[in-house]
């Protein structure tokens, strides 16, 4: 059993490494852009290639230089993406998890409401205006905190929290209820579950 599991795990890793290696290089924003996804709507709205891209006189003499200049010249830049996905008056739709096509650090472009303790406040938006969440986040972003329980990531509580969690439970049990049901308490306090220290 043990060897089968290891073999299968290695196989999975190899599959994805092999699949990803084909493009295991830095991709420019232009390369990351999904033309296929936009083809239908751009055609529908009568946009032509030149509405987003402009011609540029290539000065580079080497092929590599010319390619780089061409890439820069063809890159439509911020105003084009934001015209359809951000700007209030012209926006036609969200583009979840696609901000990284151009933005390296999403933390830098987070909404102003997303302050340090935002996790405590986000439920109102999730309930009243879920589309504002899905403009940037996909469903796995919810599952990452609400469903996944492991020691790989600490998304909510610090490690020593186990020692004094009862203090917060006595203060704000509604806060615990946001993610846990009572079985989460009784599973441990019954003394028969959890082997890990």
């Amino acid at each position: 059993m043990k060897h089968t599991v290891i073999r299968l795990s290695v196989l999975i890793i190899l599959i994805f490494v092999a699949a990803g290696c084909a493009r295991f290089v830095y991709r420019t924003p232009a390369q990351n852009f999904k033309h296929g996804v936009h083809k239908e709507i751009l055609t529908k709205m009568d946009y032509e290639c030149l509405d987003c891209h402009k011609f540029l006189k290539i000065k580079g003499r080497s092929f590599k230089g010319a390619l780089e200049e061409s890439e820069i010249g063809l890159y439509p830049r911020k105003v084009i993406c934001h015209f359809c996905h951000v700007d209030t008056e012209t926006r036609v739709g969200s583009s979840p998890y696609q901000c990284a096509t151009c933005h390296d650090d999403l933390y830098a472009i987070r909404p102003e409401t997303h302050v340090r303790e935002w996790k405590k406040f986000h439920a109102v938006d999730a309930k009243n205006d879920r589309q504002s969440c899905t403009a940037c986040h996909k469903e796995w972003f919810c599952s990452d905190c609400h469903t996944r329980r492991d020691t790989v990531q600490s998304v909510m509580h610090p490690k020593p929290y186990r020692s004094f969690h009862y203090v917060e439970a006595q203060i704000d049990p509604a806060g615990c209820s946001a993610c846990h049901t009572s079985s989460f308490c009784t599973d441990c306090h019954s003394g028969k579950k959890r082997r890990y220290n």
Partner: protein, 441 residues
């Protein structure tokens, strides 16, 4: 289906998806694979070695543009002949036409209704022309439960049902509103039946020659089965001059659920279900690199004897961001919890430093002094360190070590290796799409 069989099925599905691009011509795959090897101590003093693998997949444009498949799951095993565990956090097919005019989800997916949960079922959203959209859903809720071994945290099938729907405002900039209904139960028993309404509005104006942004939001959940207000929420956001930001929220709970004991809500377990709560967070940017924050929670709980008990949580700290000039990021703070029975005071600090483009380092410390009946004046502390290597932005290998000393538990020295791999490619036409860069969310 056993864990082994489920794992084999998952591998076969992955093989099919990656080796048969023809039927998926034009489909685009994004995902993340995380693998963790960890050595840790058990309660009886023995050590165990655990391998946890997480896989997240988003397969868009599957056969036709609106169809997509989304999956997120885990396979974990204890390497010394221990148990293994497979779990699927979500796995659903989605048919979403342009702008979500018709949006259908089928399978297991996260759901925010009267509370957050995972649903096995269907969710249909319709956004026709006009200001009103509608959604309906139905299925079986899933409850996460610990099994005797730590690595087995699995969803449990209870046979419960959950159904509901909502009408919502659409296409109005800076305003949101909705009315909703949900009913949860089993056979003839209704655990919770909620009718609710919520909404909010954004405001923008100038004050003292500075820009002010405000938003006010609220919601009301009414339990028709119990004829009582289940939850009432009001939230205010205030931003002044792009430096000062205040988030403030007030909640009133009066939870009267009829859940069986094993899935009762914790608020019902530790009080009569009645809680009033006010909390806020205030952040001020001293400069582009320094910010200070302070937040508090004030609560009142009604206990079974009818007496109200108060509690307070106070936090404060500083964040230092020199990521661009020096690759340095520091978060340090203090906090104090005071319940009607116990107190806890703590300090925490996390320092991240990226000295070279390929390498990242991280160190953290957290210490808590707590005082409770029969547990007076005890200290718990954790010290951790991590070194990461990232040859490309999408791949990171990290080694970590952590020492935890908790008086209530055994001291624990934990070490491990973690691999994070973000991938993305088009299965059809090459060159039109590329992998997603790893991003910080």
């Amino acid at each position: 289906m056993t864990s082994k069989l489920r794992y084999k099925a998952l591998v076969l599905a992955l093989l099919a998806m990656t080796s048969l691009p023809r039927p998926l011509h034009g489909a685009e795959l994004d995902g993340k694979f995380t693998s963790l090897f960890e050595s840790r101590q058990n309660r009886d003093g023995t050590r165990e070695a655990v391998l946890d693998n997480y896989l997240r997949l988003d397969l868009d444009k599957l056969f036709v543009t609106p169809l997509s498949l989304h999956a997120y799951g885990k396979y974990g095993t204890e390497l010394n002949n221990g148990p293994d565990s497979t779990d699927i956090y979500h796995l659903y097919a989605q048919y979403r036409t342009f702008q979500g005019e018709t949006d259908l989800k089928l399978g297991r997916f996260p759901l925010e209704s009267h509370r957050f949960l995972t649903l096995d079922g269907a969710y249909l959203t319709m956004r026709p022309e006009g200001r009103i959209g509608a959604a309906i859903y139905a299925g079986q809720p899933r409850y996460l439960e610990f099994y005797p071994e730590q690595i087995q945290n699995r969803f449990r099938d209870t046979g419960d049902y959950l159904a509901g729907g909502k009408l919502f405002l659409q296409g109005v900039e800076g305003a949101r509103a909705n009315v909703y209904y949900s009913r949860e139960g089993k056979d003839g028993t209704v655990y919770r039946e909620i009718v609710g309404a919520g909404g909010g509005k954004d405001f923008r104006f100038n004050l003292l020659s500075s820009e002010v942004k405000m938003s006010a939001d609220g919601s009301l959940d009414y339990n028709t089965d119990q004829a009582a207000i289940d939850k009432l929420t009001a939230r205010l956001f205030f931003a002044f001059d792009k430096k000062l930001r205040l988030l403030m929220q007030a909640d009133r709970y009066d939870i009267r659920d009829d859940y069986p004991a094993d899935r009762q809500l914790i608020i019902s377990l530790l009080s009569t279900g009645r809680e009033d709560r006010i909390f806020y967070t205030l952040t001020y940017d001293l400069s582009t690199n320094f910010s200070v924050y302070q937040g508090s929670v004030f609560t009142g709980l009604r206990m079974p004897d009818g007496v109200w008990q108060n509690g307070t949580i106070v936090r404060g700290g500083v964040t230092v961001n020199f990521i661009k000039p020096a690759g340095l990021d520091l978060d340090a703070g203090v906090y104090r919890f005071e319940s009607f029975l116990a107190k806890a005071s703590g300090v925490s600090a996390t320092l991240k430093w990226r000295p070279l483009r390929l390498w990242t380092t991280q160190a953290g410390v957290e210490a808590v002094l707590y005082d409770a009946p029969f547990r007076s004046n005890k200290t718990a502390k954790t010290v951790s360190a991590e070194v990461g290597y990232s040859p490309v932005s999408r791949l990171k290998l990290a080694f970590f070590a952590e020492q935890s000393d908790n008086p209530e538990f055994k001291s624990d020295f934990r070490t491990g290796l973690r691999l994070d791999y973000n991938f993305g490619f088009a299965t059809g036409s090459p060159g039109l799409s590329g992998p997603r860069k790893e991003v910080r969310q």
